[in-house]
């Protein structure tokens, strides 16, 4: 069984996020990192291998800019066997619809039985990519998986709904997205970080991946950003720095002033 984990390069949690007014796209000039939600997908793939399932290959697949090679190195250090970076000027500015199509086309070139995505990207806060990819690939889907097991070529997944939990079985090949509660990702060892440098990364163009350029990028986008504006004004809250619990008195005073105690 081969597993593909889709990963995304996102601005790092500490970098200031803004929209570039000249393009209406996210300014990606600051520090970036591997989307933290995708790390849970990689961890789950590795756990399946460690659980004794016959996992032939774990490939980390990313659509992004050239610079995404750096976060892809982290994916390799975390345990992916190889990486694929689909990068092309034609892909820049793709919307959800174009991205899902492009990922599905790139994934079809990989011989994968299980495709894993994180539940959302930290920069876009949507949680729709797995379902769109599954529809393109005509594969069964389970999103927001909180527990995963495999028996032969059938996966069993537990996922939260508004009413409790659903337990869903699906035959492979399948597409899933994982909840960030599914596991606690390990930190890569120094040895793994060094070893990652020897693992292969294929850098492929849109055409190499079988992507029709007219369906992707800013030109192919069906959802178009028209304008960006500040949110409705809100009173900014107070902030206090705690040291060893010394904020307790100030918190009590605040609660008292607000009349809630």
């Amino acid at each position: 069984m081969n597993i593909a984990v889709c990963v995304k390069e996102v601005p790092s949690a500490t970098s200031a996020k803004r929209i570039d007014p000249s393009t209406n796209r996210l300014d990606r000039s600051g520090d970036s990192e591997l989307n933290p939600f995708d790390v849970h997908g990689l961890e789950e793939a590795i756990k399946l291998r460690e659980a004794g399932h016959d996992v032939g290959e774990i490939v980390a697949l990313c659509m992004g800019r050239e610079q995404a090679q750096r976060p892809l190195q982290k994916a390799l250090a975390l345990g992916a066997d190889r990486a694929v970076l689909v990068t092309d000027e034609a892909l820049a500015g793709s919307d959800i619809t174009g991205t899902a199509y492009a990922l599905a086309q790139a994934l079809e070139k990989q011989n994968t039985d299980l495709v894993i995505l994180g539940q959302q990207a930290a920069d876009a806060d949507c949680y729709v990519m797995a379902a769109a990819v599954a529809d393109h690939m005509r594969r069964p889907l389970v999103t927001q998986v909180a527990e995963l097991s495999l028996e032969g070529s059938t996966l069993r997944a537990k996922r939260q709904t508004e009413h409790g939990y659903d337990v869903i079985e699906a035959p492979l090949p399948a597409v899933i997205s994982v909840s960030d509660a599914i596991n606690t990702p390990r930190l890569p060892s120094i040895k793994a970080i060094m070893g990652a440098k020897k693992k292969p990364t294929d850098v492929v163009s849109a055409a190499d991946a079988g992507i029709d350029s007219s369906l992707v990028g800013a030109a192919g986008a069906k959802s178009v950003v028209a304008s960006v504006s500040p949110p409705p004004a809100k009173d900014s809250g107070q902030r206090i720095e705690d040291s060893g619990g010394d904020s307790a008195t100030a918190i009590v005073q605040f609660l008292s002033e607000r009349g809630v105690i």
Binding site: V133, D180, S247
Partner: protein, 316 residues
């Protein structure tokens, strides 16, 4: 006929309030068709969507249609194809169906939508983005325009007393769409404390370290005369019961005081508690999004601050 369609999610005879909210909101702009899919649907029940603004209800009734999304995409797709806009309220199933439909039709989709217009000039959708620091307005280059709302973005209030005309449609479900099967369900426990009724909630997330520290949170809740609540992450991780969960797939709460301990404040959590009276956040990560909407942000380790706070409250 160019039309606006609202996909209405439902469970055990109750319509999803997020679907109803979107339906009611959409009906303010013109005629709206509701789409309901499932097995054994009662026409009279479906017609009740008229009270939320539907002028017509399409009912796709087939044993293959349940709570898994992929057959629902099959059922919706032929009707969505010619629509101007297809709208979805927030929800686990609705999000999967919306995304599947976007792929199937190559249609544009806006997620986390908090406002929209559907008119002669086209469809526009507004969403907060980048941790709700900006509002992004989008248009659509093709139709249908797909819109997936943010949880609790639109109130599920009746807008009339009318009943809608019901029209039955026969879905065609594909083999691969039915390959996944629902083999079990764990219901949220129905007994115990109802956190939506509490005046004070002390909520915890993974930042409190582990389930062994829940008593520390409980003590603060008791000192404040409130109840404890939790994030999806710790419920999914099995630390506590689903009935304690606040957020998109959990409860929507608006207590007078909400104390968030070790909670980052992801959108999925925020939509369930942002209307609380006073929000106090205790988190050691200075970049945690919750500080953007807390009335009082305490940058510190919840496990250090909470016991001291409990002590200070008790000694008053």
């Amino acid at each position: 006929m160019a039309d606006t369609i609202v996909f209405v999610d439902h469970y055990e005879g109750s319509f999803n309030p997020n679907s109803l909210g979107v339906l009611a909101r959409a009906s303010q702009g013109g005629e709206v068709t509701a789409f309901v899919a499932g097995s054994g649907i009662d026409d009279g029940w479906a017609a009740g969507l008229g009270a939320y603004g539907a002028s017509r209800v399409l009912v796709a009734d087939d044993p293959a249609l349940g709570s898994l999304p992929q057959p629902l995409v099959d059922a919706l797709e032929p009707h969505a194809r010619d629509a101007t806009a297809v709208l979805f309220g927030a929800g686990v199933v609705s999000a999967d169906v919306a995304a599947g439909l976007a792929a199937r039709l190559g249609a544009g989709i806006n997620c986390e939508t908090t406002d929209f217009t559907i008119g002669d000039g086209g469809v526009t959708a507004v969403r907060p983005a980048l941790g709700d620091t900006i509002m992004v307005e989008s248009t659509f280059a093709s139709s249908p325009a797909l819109i997936l709302s943010r949880a609790n973005a639109f109130p599920a209030d009746p807008v009339g007393s009318g009943t809608a005309q019901v029209e039955r449609v026969q879905p065609t479900v594909q083999d691969w769409s039915t390959a996944a099967s629902l083999v079990g369900q764990e219901q949220a426990s129905r007994g115990g404390v109802d956190i939506t009724e509490a005046d004070v909630l002390v909520a915890f997330g993974r930042g409190i370290g582990g389930p062994e520290n829940i008593p520390v949170i409980q003590e603060l809740a008791s000192a404040l005369g409130g109840e404890i609540a939790a994030t999806r992450a710790v419920v999914d991780a099995g630390w506590t019961d689903y009935s304690m969960q606040v957020g998109q797939t959990g409860k929507t709460v608006s207590p007078k005081l909400y104390v968030a301990c070790g909670i980052s404040g992801a959108i999925q959590h925020k939509v369930g508690m942002a209307n609380s009276g006073v929000i106090v956040a205790i988190n050691k990560d200075v970049n945690a999004p919750i500080f953007e909407f807390a009335d009082l942000g305490v940058v510190g380790d919840a496990l250090t601050v909470v016991p001291k706070l409990t002590e200070a409250l008790k000694s008053r």
